[in-house]
């Protein structure tokens, strides 16, 4: 038997539309209509400023540990912008700009990050899952949701997010494989932010790109400049349209950078240099997008200033409202809720046991 060569796809595209100075490649410019562009800009800016505010709230002890998103706004906001409300988003935990875009309130984020489960309630009008902490595990839920969409013959799409570290997890590979086998309407969006806490992208995989992992599962993969919101948008739109039309899943690798800490409990000085961070700050997705919008005549310094002031006020109001709202939260009995549809008898006993102890302890406290 002869030794023959099997021809396989051996390349993936890299897409970049806005360069580091905000100069657009006019051939690739998707020429998105201006209201949508301005809404994307506002959400990016809101997410950045809110992220900064959350960091200061954390440092002041007014909220707990959280994972900042700064620098990655384009990489996830650009991906969800082509979605419609009936689509589903299955996030990891560092896609706050996308969550805001999908309708999550600033207040709920503050409340959640201050340790109240009330903040992760998903309102009825949003088809999204709450954030998922164990890395990569949520990918499979998007696959199952997409399976349901196909079964119900809708043309909706499920989109899921994860980081570069997640591509080392079994659930990532199993998810891509199942989506390929069942030809499911799901878009896998990798936020390749270069660092999984202290482990650099180069130590996650020997592969040259993360996008190429798609090829092994028979689905398209594309790498985009994740700090270029137009490139992310274009790649996501193409993937979403393909999925809606029955063309199956796509993997999008957004090359971006986590300019801040992994979480507020992390000290990046232990594993990376300031020079590297500075280099990426120069590729900031917001300034690039602002350059583009300015060139298109949609933005000017005055408009940015007005927007910044409105955003500052919106955040201030949200913080005040959330802190007011949290004064009424904290009923410990809530911990017994939502474990089961109906509380089992033994859990009722445990709850009663707590109530007995708790009311006695409170009475005692009043006496002291």
């Amino acid at each position: 038997m002869p030794k023959t060569r099997i021809t396989l796809p051996d390349s993936v595209d890299h897409l970049s539309i806005l360069d580091e100075h905000g100069q657009v490649d006019t051939d690739l410019d998707p020429t998105i209509e201006s209201p949508l562009l301005l809404r994307m800009h506002r959400t990016m800016l809101l997410a950045r400023r809110f992220d900064e505010r959350l960091l200061s709230l954390q440092r002041q002890g007014r909220i707990g540990t959280f994972p900042p998103i700064s620098g990655q706004e384009a990489a996830h906001l650009g991906a969800v912008a082509p979605l419609r409300a009936s689509d589903w988003v299955v996030p990891a935990f560092r896609e706050m700009a996308a969550e805001l875009w999908r309708g999550r309130s600033l207040e709920s984020i503050i409340i959640y990050n201050n340790g109240f489960s009330e903040g992760s309630r998903i309102p009825a009008e949003r088809n999204d899952l709450p954030i998922s902490v164990p890395v990569g595990s949520q990918i499979l839920h998007a696959v199952g949701i997409a399976w349901g969409m196909k079964y119900r013959a809708t043309d909706d799409v499920a989109m899921t997010f994860f980081g570069d570290g997640a591509t080392s997890q079994g659930d990532f590979h199993e998810g891509l494989n199942f989506a390929g086998v069942f030809q499911l309407p799901v878009v896998f969006v990798c936020q390749n932010n270069q660092w999984a806490i202290s482990i650099p992208r180069s130590k996650q995989t020997r592969s040259k790109t993360l996008a190429q992992k798609a090829l092994a599962y028979g689905i398209p993969g594309i790498q985009v400049d994740g700090n270029d919101i137009l490139a992310v948008y274009v790649a996501a739109q193409e993937a979403v349209e393909r999925a809606r039309a029955g063309g199956g899943a796509t993997l999008i690798e957004c090359v971006t950078y986590r300019v801040a800490v992994h979480t507020t409990a992390d000290d990046p000085k232990r594993y990376r240099t300031d020079a590297e961070v500075e280099e990426w700050r120069r590729k900031d997705p917001i300034t690039r997008f602002q350059g583009y919008l300015t060139a298109r005549g949609l933005l000017n310094p005055d408009a940015v200033k007005t927007e910044e002031e409105a955003i500052a006020a919106e955040i201030q109001t949200a913080v005040a409202r959330a802190e007011e709202e949290m004064k009424a939260l904290g009923d410990p009995l809530l911990m017994f809720e939502h474990a089961y549809a109906e509380m089992p008898a033994d859990l009722k006993e445990q709850r009663a046991d707590f109530v007995r102890f708790w009311s006695a302890a409170q009475k005692e406290e009043k006496l002291v």
Partner: protein, 327 residues
Amino acid sequence: MSKMTMVQALNLALRQEMTQDDRVIVLGEDVGVDGGVFRVTDGLIEAFGESRVVDTPLAESAIAGMSIGMAVYGLKPVCEMQFDGFSYYTLHQIEGHASRLRWRSQGRYQVPMVLRAPYGGGVRALEHHSESREAFWAHIPGLKMVIPSGPRNARALLVSAIRDPDPVIFYEPKAVYRAFREEVPEEEETLPIGRSQRVREGGDLTLIAYGAMMRPTLEAAEELKRRHGAEADVIDLLTISPLDDSLLVESARKTGRVAVVHEAPRSFRPVAEVVARLVEKAFYHLEAPVARVTGYDVVIPLFSREKHYLPGVARIVDAARNLLSAP
């Protein structure tokens, strides 16, 4: 009514639920064309098609994770693990998500999925094909862990599990799959999850068991009567978690002498919770320490030594006689 094996009864439950509810989807390895390695899903793909009886790639975590997504989306996936020994790949998905999404979304979403797995020894199988690890699942809040013991209650409990709004781990005693037949009614029958059953009435001692251990336990009860004149109250747990202790406590208060039988290893297993409940609620009625008739804290031996590991009639009778002779 017709006489059915447990395999046939489970097949009936799936068939009837799939017929009347198009949200019910069966998925897993070899469940379609092959009808499942134990034939529990036999014929379903012919009846319902590939869109509802899904042969998946070989990846247990993905089967569970995809089921979670399907359930959140509003379907009722019934996924099959080929053997309990392979189901631990799903532990992360079940612990981390299936059992928590109701809580995490504060009631917005639920995960009405069933994860079926054949468990237990006694079928002369390979390594990883004979374990009894129900405690893994019973340790997880938000989850229900159900183990039927015969064809009729298996059918009724599987119907209840499929209809349950919470995720249910459904362990099927593979030693019972074809061991005996029972009358199973064609018409709908359910059993409440979270409720144990008294299957034999007696006042001298209490035997508590479930799953494949019910048969040797009931045989032991008969032998105790025949040879030792003792009448055993026998309780079938049916649901391991959440544990219904009302019958256990009532029976222990009545007899004061209790043995718990399971094939899982002895330590940190369901027996520990049963004993804890009895200590809390029937302590002053106990006439003797509660006896544990269980597997041992070792890997279940390959089949040549399996019979020494698995509790059988003689060990149960032995434990019962010790209980009865306690002063």
